[in-house]
Assembly symmetry: C2
Homo-oligomer: 384 residues x 2
């Protein structure tokens, strides 16, 4: 169940609460990515300390290794990964598009060779639902076909309609099997029921986005994502994809922009009505030495930090308060794992704070002010 | 200052307390190794949570990167690494022997090309003392010449005498410069003074070990290490090196076996009168998937753990209590950093507990019983 609490008077930004079997998610929210049943480099207790309310798991990766049946035998993904709060799993559609080889799409599903050992596999709406049911996530994403960018109209139209037909099959599977969160066989009550989110496709075509959004809304899901973004499109197309979908999605359901984006982009999308975000950007950047600050990203490996006694930011989390930029740089240059841990922690703290602060600003009716101030300061040094 | 509290009636085992500028070290003690100013994979808060009372830093590595002067400018090694408790630094002698290239030994010191960029460097007793003073460790090790194993008598004798002459120069440097712990220029009081430990050499020759121990004792240091072990010698030679040195070292000073060993070896050496240990074994093994248990080491990557729902040990630390062996194996197979963190934490916990329990057993007059019970169980499965 999703409840909206505040609507920003100047934008489409809003605050809400989504109730899932493993707890309530307060939106807008950033969701750390735990692809292989771990948020890279971090202990789940640290992810909790950061205030994360929901993390992601990747169906494709966990299906391949260690296998959804193994995870189910061990009590489900929550127990396996030592994480008691909500988990959202994606459908595998995006990874089949981005990682798998020799992909062949049919009405039934997609056959491909996986990126680990090249063996032949088939992912269909029913298989994706079954895997996500075995993982026992709180929110399962519908299996969609993710078109590339750029994409001609004919391909986009056929792909969008295929995603809609697959959405119906996912819904049917859900009605028949009543998947539950947390490693149960079937949901015995509404409180245990795994939620199901549809994914709006349609590439850059406004009418297709509308058609997709309306068709999914008719099927009535627990939430709606905008997919087919983060596929190499320019920023303007990313925002357009959001704007072309949001007006046709119900106000009383959460909206989720998949796999996006930079801090200013996230605020921009909150203003355009998006409630939920996930992105590997903060943890991936961390592993390359990039740290987010209110004055834009810095790369801690830079020589100018070699003797810098300051902490990474003035108000950094206590977890990093005893470490100078010089020390962090040293750890990176020396190839020490603590470097990856500390920057991953810092960057997730930055992203989570971003959505926490956005939520507070919406509550206090000053979202546009917050967004503009943040963005101006964030971009100032990069443009100077 | 070192104070002995309990002497085991049946062995040379004893409990004691060594007071250093950054606090008291209760012996016997295992000291985690923080080569590059970090105990690999761990946050200093975790090292403290494990109950570590002192960690090691490596003079050679820190001299090369980021440089002792940089660390001094930033307030010394304690501040740099975010560690407030005692630190012991080695002299660099062992690394010059094991890592450096084109080594040339003279009376003055050793010239070599470093393993990072091949540039030519010279490490002498005075340079080693100066670096350790800049790092501001609580305990500085004397600069020694580490002979190889095996080693002929002539080389061993010349090397041992060279180490003794270098010990005198280290002592002189110490008297003149009064190095302090914690990044100060000079010790203004005895409480700030950096302690200095001699290193007994002599290879496998009993009379040389005796000669070395007596000469160092005459020079009067704050503690004494047994060096030239962990260089590829068989276990029997390792114990013999200890036995050949201990009788000629003063009872009122701590004794330290450098770079050793397996859990049963550590108990054996405690029984032979050793108080302090350091070893990369627990953290290095961890990075290869090996976990210590009371029933001997297991390799968590083994296929038999693929669906094992049990925690790594029955009484494992709360830090690992929510993770199954199956999960740990999955993390290793998937190349996830959390695997390295968790096993490093576990193995250090095991090693620290080993010396904590030994201390308790000595206090309670049942050390031999503890040692025998531990060793029998530890070896049982490996020999069965």
């Amino acid at each position: 169940m999703f409840q909206v609490f505040h609507n920003d008077p100047d934008t489409k930004a809003r605050t809400g609460e989504l109730t899932t079997p493993h707890g309530v998610i307060q939106t807008p929210i950033f969701m750390p990515v735990g692809t292989q049943a771990t948020v890279k480099t971090l202990h789940p207790a640290e992810v909790e300390e950061l205030g994360a309310q929901v993390i992601l798991g990747n169906t494709y990766h966990l299906w391949l290794r260690p296998g959804h049946e193994t995870i189910k035998e061990l009590g489900g993904l929550h127990k396996f990964a030592g994480w008691d709060k909500p988990i959202l799993t994606d459908s595998g559609g995006f990874q089949v598009w981005s990682l798998a080889k020799l992909r062949k799409i049919s009405e039934e599903g997609v056959t491909f060779r996986n990126h680990l050992d090249g063996s032949k596999m088939m992912l269909s709406p029913e298989v994706s639902m079954e895997i996500q049911s075995a993982l026992g996530s709180d929110i399962a994403m519908l299996y969609d076909e993710c078109p590339p960018y750029p994409c001609d109209r004919k391909y986009a139209e056929e792909s969008t309609d295929l995603t809609t037909r697959w959405a119906k099959r996912c819904k049917e599977w859900h009605m028949q099997n009543k998947p539950a969160a947390g490693g149960l066989d079937r949901a015995a009550s509404e409180a245990q029921r795994q939620l199901q989110f549809g994914i709006v496709q349609g590439s850059v075509y406004a009418d297709l986005r509308e058609r997709s959004a309306r068709a999914l809304t008719d099927l009535d899901f627990d939430g709606y994502a905008v997919g087919g973004v983060s596929v190499g499109e320019p920023e303007v197309e990313m925002f357009r994809a959001i704007d072309n979908a949001v007006p046709f999605l119900p106000d009383n359901k959460p909206r989720y922009a998949m796999g996006l984006g930079t801090p200013p982009q996230i605020l921009e999308m909150i203003g355009r009505g998006v409630d939920m975000f996930d992105c590997v950007h903060p943890t991936r950047c961390a592993r390359h030495g990039q740290a987010f600050t209110l004055d834009g990203p810095i790369n801690i490996k830079n020589g100018k930090f070699a003797k810098d006694p300051r902490t990474i930011t003035e108000d950094c989390h206590p977890h990093l308060a005893s470490f100078s930029r010089a020390y962090l740089r040293h750890l990176f240059k020396a190839g020490e794992i603590l470097a990856l841990r500390l920057l991953s922690f810092h960057n997730l703290h930055f992203y989570l704070n971003l959505t926490f602060n956005a939520r507070k600003a919406i509550e206090e009716g000053r979202f546009t002010e917050y967004k503009n101030e943040f963005t101006e300061r964030y971009n100032a040094k990069q443009h100077s």
